[in-house]
């Protein structure tokens, strides 16, 4: 063979070397190197922590049923929302949407056998429970009290608990960075032959944009909390104004990460929606290139808007303007996505599976949350709204109504691939209605409460209730609806476990979808693809009965399920 003839062909031969699956419980399920198992680990860890963080949220809601605080002291309340926010952001959503979905789906969709660095992947996962332990153990020292943002100087009063908070976030930051790096390399180097950048499924574009932000922004977070840690433990003056430090500096460093962070959890959800909508509308995605481009645009713009969290916090007025304008600018690529998705369902043949319901609900609730973000981005209006429950309303519409809804759309969609069985459709649909109604009932009233003058992070609001007596009613209303959301999540957890045994068998491609993961058996074998597939066309071509000519991967190899390679699209929702 001549030197220099190395082509994709050879490169993929290299990958055709299949390792035998690992033996023994520990190697198989605990310290597994298999991206699918790691995906499961993220999924169950994330879900478990969501129970805890969600229960904190319910305690927060219960406290607010009475203007004088119904169930706990101020300090306990402050601890609750701090832990709720921290755990939801770093231990629930980021692990779920990047860790669980990214790990399970991404290598399958690009036709790879695993991620680029399986060891690193395993290490990234195992950091998560460690960080969770550190974070929750801080509650033994009284817990962090200063919100999920932990602004100094108030957070410096948290002592040991505050230092543990920093340590936990630092650790989880390392995990995110490594995952981002791993996914970047995997997507850039390990796509199946023929899968050009414009033939990647949109979920891959989303994962790529997310990985970029994870890799770049998270380090800045590590530095922010690292410096805070040094100040806590060794009293190194970075932020202490009495010794020349600056408290505003921390806010810059924190938001430089944490603004991109909010897109870290929404963009994978965008990716999910881009998969689910075409599949169940039985149409190609509308405007593939613009959606892919807007994911990248958002991930880059995300680095340029962080000061919109700091408009009244002590930055020079002239600095507010560029950040306002750049924040507005993000509305344009996001709008492109929303409109493209609407065009995708237009003229389709829509099957109302639970995934589809969540994706449709996502379009409505996310748009609402995005639009309230546009209100906040306007400097003068933010001078009124900052620090109120309006902000809380905004971001729950985008995190719960966006990221969590996207995630909830993904679970029934890929569950059959992951387990070989369908999720119980009726329970999942019930879950959707509970979640959707609960979400709107909980977070909609926050908008006018905030505008009327209710600050966020308040353990009591007797003073406000005197000025605006309806506040009591609306807070109780919110609390009542928040339990519908809890029920929906509880139902999902039940469904996931119940269907593991009782779900109907899924077959290879229950949805008749058109991406690579649906060409292999469910659940996929250890090595995913017996032979790395060749990709000939873009995804979502529903008018072609056989989108991928992957004829070597005969289904006879996996006699458990099905007989044909790419089954004729079956009536969707067959699992119900």
């Amino acid at each position: 063979m001549q030197a220099g003839t190395s082509t994709t062909h050879e490169a993929h031969d290299a990958h055709d070397h299949i390792h035998p699956p690992p033996e023994g419980f520990v190697r198989k399920y605990v310290f597994s190197l298999d991206h699918k198992v790691i995906g499961f680990q993220y999924f169950f860890t994330g879900l478990l922590i969501m129970f805890i963080a969600g229960s904190f949220a319910e305690l927060v809601r219960l406290q607010l049923t009475d203007p004088n605080g119904a169930i706990m002291s101020h300090t306990a309340y402050n601890e609750m929302f701090s832990m709720h926010g921290t755990a939801m952001v770093w231990l629930v959503l980021i692990p779920l949407v990047t860790g669980a979905l990214g790990n399970f789906v991404m290598p399958l969709q690009i036709g790879a056998r695993d991620v680029a660095f399986p060891w690193l992947n395993m290490a990234s996962f195992w950091i998560l429970p460690v960080a969770a332990l550190i974070l929750f153990s801080s509650m033994l020292w009284g817990g962090p009290h200063a919100g999920w943002t932990e602004y100094p100087p108030i957070s410096l009063a948290d002592g040991t608990a505050g230092a543990l908070w920093c340590l936990a976030i630092f650790t989880i930051g390392i995990s995110s960075t490594m995952t981002g790096l791993n996914f970047m390399v995997t997507i850039m180097k390990m796509r199946a032959p023929g899968m050009t950048w414009t033939r990647m499924p949109l979920f891959i574009w989303a994962t790529f944009a997310t990985a970029l932000m994870n890799m770049v922004a998270t380090v800045a977070l590590s530095v922010a909390v690292g410096a805070l840690f040094l100040e806590h433990v060794f009293s190194v003056p970075f932020f202490d104004p009495a010794r020349g430090g600056s408290v505003v500096l921390y806010q810059h460093m924190f938001w430089f990460y944490s603004h991109p962070a909010v897109y870290i959890f929404i963009i994978p959800a965008f990716g999910v929606v881009s998969e689910v909508l075409p599949t169940f509308a039985r149409k190609p995605i509308f405007g593939y290139k613009m959606i892919a481009f807007s994911s990248m645009a958002i991930s880059i713009l995300a680095f340029t808007v962080w000061m919109h969290h700091m408009f009244p916090s002590g930055i020079a007025p002239w600095l507010q303007l560029p950040f306002m304008i750049l924040t507005y600018a993000i509305g344009i690529p996001t709008g492109i996505k929303i409109f493209s998705w609407m065009a995708t369902i237009w003229g389709g043949r829509i099957h109302f599976t639970s995934s589809m319901l969540y994706a449709l609900g996502f379009l409505i609730t996310f748009t609402f949350g995005g639009l309230s973000g546009i209100f906040l981005a306007s400097v003068p209006v933010d001078l009124h709204m900052h620090g109120t429950v309006f902000v809380v309303g905004h971001f729950h519409y985008v995190v719960a109504g966006g990221a969590v809804m996207g995630f909830l759309a993904a679970v029934p969609y890929w569950y059959p691939k992951a387990t070989g069985r369908m999720l119980n459709e009726r329970l999942a649909q019930l879950g959707f209605w509970l979640f959707f109604i609960g979400l709107n009932g909980t977070f909609l009233p926050m908008h006018w409460l905030g505008l009327e003058g209710m600050p966020r992070r308040t353990a009591t609001y007797a003073g406000f209730a005197k000025a605006f007596p309806d506040a009591v009613f609306w807070n109780q209303f919110e609390t009542a609806f928040s339990f519908l959301m809890a029920a929906a999540i509880g139902l999902l957890a039940f469904n996931v476990i119940w269907s593991l045994r009782h779900g109907t068998l899924a077959g290879i491609n229950p949805w008749g979808a058109r991406t690579l993961e649906w060409t292999i058996s469910s659940p996929p074998p250890y090595y995913n693809f017996k032979k790395i597939p060749q990709v000939f066309d873009r995804p979502y071509n529903f008018d072609q009965p056989l989108p991928y000519r992957n004829t070597d991967n005969e289904l006879d190899e996996f006699p458990e399920f099905g007989r044909v390679l790419m089954p004729i699209p079956q009536p969707v929702g067959a699992g119900a």
Binding site: H74, N78, A146, P153, I154, A157, P241, A242, V247, V248, A281, R282, K283, P284, I285, F286, G287, M290, P312, S313, P317, Q320, M324, G331, G335, I336, F339, M342, I345, G347, G348, R349, I350, F352, I364, F375, S378, P380, V381, L383, H386, G387, T388, W448, L451, E452, G453, P455, R456, T458, A459, T460, G463, F542, D543, P545, I568, P569, Q570, V572
Partner: protein, 367 residues
């Protein structure tokens, strides 16, 4: 083995597209009507009768957004629901019935890029206009006062008042129709001064002073709230603001003024020894003021005190008074909390009358 798929067909934009569009448009108009002409006080406090000059500007911006994004929301949600119903799968479908196979439409995509961009440009222009008014467009303030955040109350300092007003016990007072400037800071953690009816807020950041300018327009009593998390009792950090006619305000100010200062009466400064003062300064002041004294802007905890009586770059004392020995002595007696921090009073610093005379003699000798 594979059947070729059967593609759905329908006329125009779909059954019922235009009627639905008209309904959505009407809803948007109703929404606009409500926000422009309805009474939205239950959403925005005091929207019908602005309490301060910037409130109506900000409300205008808010209404513009409520109208435009309300329309966007109505159309997005409306079309999503309508498409979902109109293009639902039918029981009669064969398994391979598929939707219309279109991949893109550059023209349409151009529209939905350009139109939102235009709207956002308009919004930017409107926002900048209000932003400019807030920060640069105010008349010269007739009343400049300080608002200092503490855990968990606000302290208000009026020019000429010897003692502060504390939000725990007393409301803040402002004269109606008079342009005011609030200088906002904090001595411990970050707080935010916010009066919902005035629509403005600003953080009190330790080590930093920010200003808010506005003119109160309507008398009444309003709530003050702290809008930045500041510790256990953040939720109790509230106060009242009384906006009253100028005459009433002045009367109140006079009645407050009579309260005596805590530091004792005027001290006889004659006979102070600069040499003894120097030693005293090294003992009691060097922890916070650079020793040997440096120019004003080189602060440690407190400012540098070199040339305090004749520094062209710093013509007045931090109290705003002329740098006479008497005024310096006042600071040593009563202490002072300003943007830089807190200068302790004589009790805290342990200064006798003689000490004060010596220290002042020393400081004034630094020519």
């Amino acid at each position: 083995m594979f059947q070729s798929p059967s593609v759905v067909r329908f006329k125009g934009l779909g059954p019922g597209f235009w009627p639905v569009t008209i309904v959505l448009a009407l809803l948007s108009i109703a929404n606009a009507w409500y926000f422009l002409y309805g009474n939205i006080d239950w959403i925005m406090p005091g929207a019908s009768q602005p309490v301060a000059d910037r409130a109506s500007d900000i409300d205008g911006l808010f209404k513009f957004m409520a109208v435009s994004s309300g329309a966007i929301m109505i159309f997005v949600a409306g079309y999503v629901i309508y498409f979902a119903i109109a293009f639902r799968a039918r029981p009669t479908d064969s398994p391979d019935t598929i939707g219309v196979q279109i991949h893109d439409s550059p023209k349409l995509e151009l529209w939905w890029t350009v139109l939102p961009a235009l709207l956002l440009i308009l919004l930017t222009a409107l926002s900048i206009n209000v932003w400019y008014k807030i920060y640069f467009g105010t008349k010269a303030p007739a009343l400049t006062m300080e608002v200092i955040g503490h855990q968990f109350y606000f302290e208000f300092r009026y020019p000429g008042l010897k003692t502060s007003v504390f939000s725990k016990t007393e409301p803040m007072h402002l004269p109606v129709g008079v342009p005011v400037r609030l200088l906002i800071t904090s001595t411990d953690v970050i707080h935010q001064f916010w009066v919902p009816e005035i629509r403005l807020k600003s953080a009190g950041v330790p080590g930093l002073v920010q200003s808010l300018n506005f003119t109160p327009l309507r008398t009444g009593t309003y709530d003050i709230a702290c809008a930045e998390f500041c510790g256990a009792d953040h939720s109790l950090m509230r106060g009242k603001l009384v906006i009253e006619p100028v005459a009433t305000f002045n009367k109140w100010l006079d009645s407050e003024n009579k309260t005596a200062a805590a530091g004792g009466g005027a001290i006889n400064l004659a006979g102070g020894s600069a040499g003894t003062g120097k030693t005293l300064f090294a003992q009691k002041c060097a922890a916070c003021h650079n020793n040997p004294p440096t120019p004003f802007d080189q602060k440690l905890v407190g400012p540098g005190l070199l040339h305090i009586t004749d520094d062209p770059a710093h013509p007045t004392l931090v109290t705003g008074k002329t740098p006479t020995p008497e005024h310096i002595a006042e600071i040593l007696q009563n202490g002072f909390t300003g943007p830089i921090g807190t200068m302790p009073n004589r009790q805290a610093n342990g200064l006798s009358d003689k000490d004060i005379a010596n220290a002042v003699a020393y400081l004034t000798s630094l020519k």
